[in-house]
């Protein structure tokens, strides 16, 4: 050790000399304020302890990755020989994210996908009406029914969707994803009621509800109740799943939406961790051992950007920070509790794409794929280049993304080395910097009283809005450059276009008529169901909602079974909990 310290001193001395004799004269020669580049040396990771900071892949603190190699890597060569399309699902995994129109429109779409071999489980997008806790016949629903996802008003709709999953694709043989947050309890109850009705034990169900309500207040915006009451519902789901559906992931925490809304890397990481800590604490406060439920926490994704070194460092820092938080703050002992399980790692984020010269977005996505491959995941190139056009992803754009990933895996062999930057002076320094910055912000939020308090006061929302505006100003002042947007955009530049064929998946006519058809379905439901039973179930829910010690999941399950609508259930809770108010800036 004495010898190493001597070397650091030697390097430091040499560095000072280099700066004085080599670097500074060059900076002066070009009349710059400072060097436009940075060279990292051993002094930048002074005191670096490999086992403490990095460790081995699959071991604490997971900086080098969750596994010695991932599942997909084990079968990469086999997949290449068989021409596997990861986007089509199969093998019990979820299929492509989607949903539109009424439940029967979506069921028919799923059946059509299955008939051409796309057999993944349902990965449901719900329309905004459902996401915000309304029924298709409410005034808030006008024009939005079945638009950005499928409309689910009642248990009947849910059952119709699952008509596509029987036999070999029975609901316990595929995984289901639900991108649902504020009404997550209702959708999970429908899923449980569905299994009960089919005689399938709940403990066999696999899937992931997004169920990350806190980030909805910071970004994305589909909240219903105030943050504190929302967290109570989260606790009820956690406890219920822990007891009855141990294979169902409890939440899919997302920094992705927060960064897309404008957050800096530090805010993305700190706010996600603060939200995660609030969810974990909810389980602990309910009297559960953290190791019983934390392994069922997942992450959707963090945000991304074009800054490749920083984004690789970010993923390493995120894994280490979460592992430390679980071990040191929550006393977890099971390594699985300490892992960030997420389907992707680094990526560019859709907000890095440009409407100007859109084919450049493919180049950008490939850089994101490279960052992913070098930060512990499949080198996924995403999004398709036509993402910002708002016209749906074309088959060509999706093909280019898929092929880029395949080229990175099979030709560039990006995925043959774990954590390839481990030990790099630059990467270890950046990783430390990001983690330290995020802990400082995290501690600040803890002092405010945690994520819920920081949302109630509007702190997180305003911080993100300000960061978004700062970014906009940097672009306008040409402090940040975006090719084709604020530079290289004169008449000498030409747009490169390719053919775009959009798969005919969503029928425009059925989307247009969804609202009317769904209203008819609702009217029929209200006529046919046992009104007395609905009233009774709703009033029990109302009574229990006022008592914070009661778990509401059994009551919500009962409401779902007697065919109370999603909005009726949400309205009862609105009455007791109140509604969250938007933050004005």
């Amino acid at each position: 050790m004495g010898k190493d310290t001597d070397r650091i001193d030697e390097v430091r001395k040499a560095e000072e000399e280099w700066q004085e004799k080599v670097l500074d004269p060059r900076v002066n020669r070009f009349k710059l304020q400072k060097s436009p580049t940075r060279f990292y040396t051993p002094t930048d990771r002074n005191g670096f302890n490999f086992l403490e900071k990095v460790g081995f892949p699959g071991q604490y603190p997971f900086t080098a990755g969750n596994n010695p190699f991932d599942f997909w890597r084990a079968f990469a060569e086999e997949s290449a020989k068989r021409g596997h399309r990861p986007d089509w699902g199969g093998g019990g995994s979820v299929g492509k994210y989607g949903g539109f129109g009424t439940a029967s429109d979506y069921r028919d779409y799923l059946l059509r996908m299955q008939s051409i071999g796309r057999t993944g489980g349902p990965n449901m997008a719900f329309d905004l009406v459902t996401q915000c806790g309304y029924d298709s016949d409410s005034s808030e629903a006008e024009g939005e029914v079945g638009r950005v996802g499928v409309a689910v008003d009642s248990f009947r709709d849910f059952q119709i969707i699952y008509e596509a999953y029987t036999g070999d694709l029975e609901m316990d043989k595929v995984a289901s994803n639900f991108t649902i947050n504020a009404p997550a309890a209702v959708i999970i109850a429908m899923y449980a009621a569905m299994a009960e009705k089919r005689g399938i034990p709940l403990e066999r169900l696999r899937g992931t509800p997004q169920n990350d309500i806190l980030k909805e207040f910071i970004a994305r915006g589909t909240y219903i109740y105030p943050p504190r009451q929302s967290l109570r519902l989260f606790r009820d789901i956690l406890v219920f799943c822990n007891e009855h559906m141990p294979k169902l992931n409890i939440t899919s925490i997302g920094g992705y939406h927060i960064r897309e809304a404008g957050a800096t890397r530090t805010q993305d990481l700190a706010f996600s961790m603060a939200n995660g800590a609030a969810y974990l604490q909810a389980g602990v406060d309910a009297g559960l051992d953290v190791d019983t439920f934390a392994p069922m926490f997942t992450f959707n994704a963090f945000g991304g950007s074009m800054e490749i070194y920083q984004e690789i460092a970010f993923q390493r820092a995120a894994r280490r920070m979460y592992a430390r938080m679980l071990k040191e703050r929550f006393g977890a002992k099971n390594p699985r509790s300490m892992m960030i399980r997420q389907p992707v790692s680094a990526h560019i984020g859709c907000s890095s794409t440009t409407l100007q010269r859109p084919l450049n977005n493919h180049t950008r996505a490939v850089i994101g794929g490279l960052a992913a491959g070098m930060s512990g995941a499949m080198p996924l190139s995403f999004p398709p280049f036509d993402e910002p056009l708002g016209l749906g992803h074309s088959l060509e754009a999706v093909q280019l993304n898929l092929d880029a990933t395949r080229i990175l895996i099979h030709e560039a062999k990006i995925a043959d080395v774990n954590d390839p930057w481990a030990g790099s002076y630059m990467m270890e320094s950046l990783t430390d910097e990001i983690e330290e910055g995020a802990w400082a912000e995290f501690d600040k939020i803890e002092k405010m009283g945690g994520a819920v308090a920081a949302i109630e006061s509007g702190y997180m929302q305003k911080a993100v809005a300000k960061s978004a505006y700062e970014r906009q100003k940097r672009i306008e002042r040409q402090e940040d450059f975006v090719v084709g947007v604020n530079c290289f955009n004169d008449e000498n530049e030409i747009d490169v276009t390719v053919n775009r064929a959009v798969e005919d998946t969503y029928d425009e006519e059925s989307m247009r008529s969804a609202e009317e058809r769904q209203k008819v379905n609702l009217a029929q439901l209200k006529k046919e169901r046992d009104g007395g039973a609905v009233g009774k179930a709703l009033s029990t829910l109302e009574k229990h909602a006022g008592d914070e010690t009661v778990n509401l999941m059994p009551d919500i399950l009962e409401c779902v079974k007697v065919e109370a609508t999603l909005q009726e259930i949400c309205d009862v809770l609105r009455g007791v909990f109140g509604e969250a108010q938007p933050v004005r800036i």
Binding site: L128, V129, Q131, C132, S139, E140, G143, E144, R147, V148, E216, A219, R220, G221, T222, E260, A261, G262, S351, T354, L355, Q356, P388, L389, G390, L391, A465, K466, A468, Y469, Q472, K473, I475, E476, V482, V485, N486, Q581, P582, V583, R584, I585
Partner: protein, 137 residues
């Protein structure tokens, strides 16, 4: 010398869409450009927007729409403004708007459409030129 009245802008998010980044950035930006800006927050109905526009006595309403419902929502806001006799208010739209829809939006009375990559000074300049040439301000 009395100061010229500041141009007043209502930035509004119609419908249930929660993508708020653009609306917030434009609100901050136009404020820095010297406009009086009111931001409605999320989930406003066309009725609420028209009422707010009148109450706040604005010269301009800016709708931020990323849900794909831009044509129907813009049409409704324009109708509600007309109902209130406030069709002199300039309506501009921003968000994810496919190019093919821009002529339709202009036909129904949208003054300008600002898509991704627009700078705040461009929006400000457009608003100033429209309001001033109308004899407003």
């Amino acid at each position: 010398m009395s100061e010229e009245r500041k141009i007043r802008v209502l930035v509004a998010k119609p419908g249930l869409d929660g993508h708020e980044r653009g609306a917030r950035v434009v609100a901050y930006g136009l404020r820095d450009e010297g406009f009086e800006v009111v931001y409605t927050g999320l989930r406003q109905t066309p009725d609420q927007i028209a009422v707010a526009a009148l109450q706040e006595d604005v010269d301009v309403v800016g709708l931020s729409i990323l849900s794909g419902a831009h044509v129907s929502l813009s049409r409704k806001v324009i109708e509600r403004l007309k109902d209130q006799g406030a069709d002199d208010i300039l309506l501009v739209v921003g968000g994810v708007i496919p190019e093919k829809d821009i002529p339709t939006l202009k036909e129904i009375g949208v003054g300008a459409v600002f898509t991704s990559g627009t700078s705040i000074p461009m929006i400000a300049e457009y608003i100033r030129s429209e309001i001033r040439s109308d004899g407003g301000g």
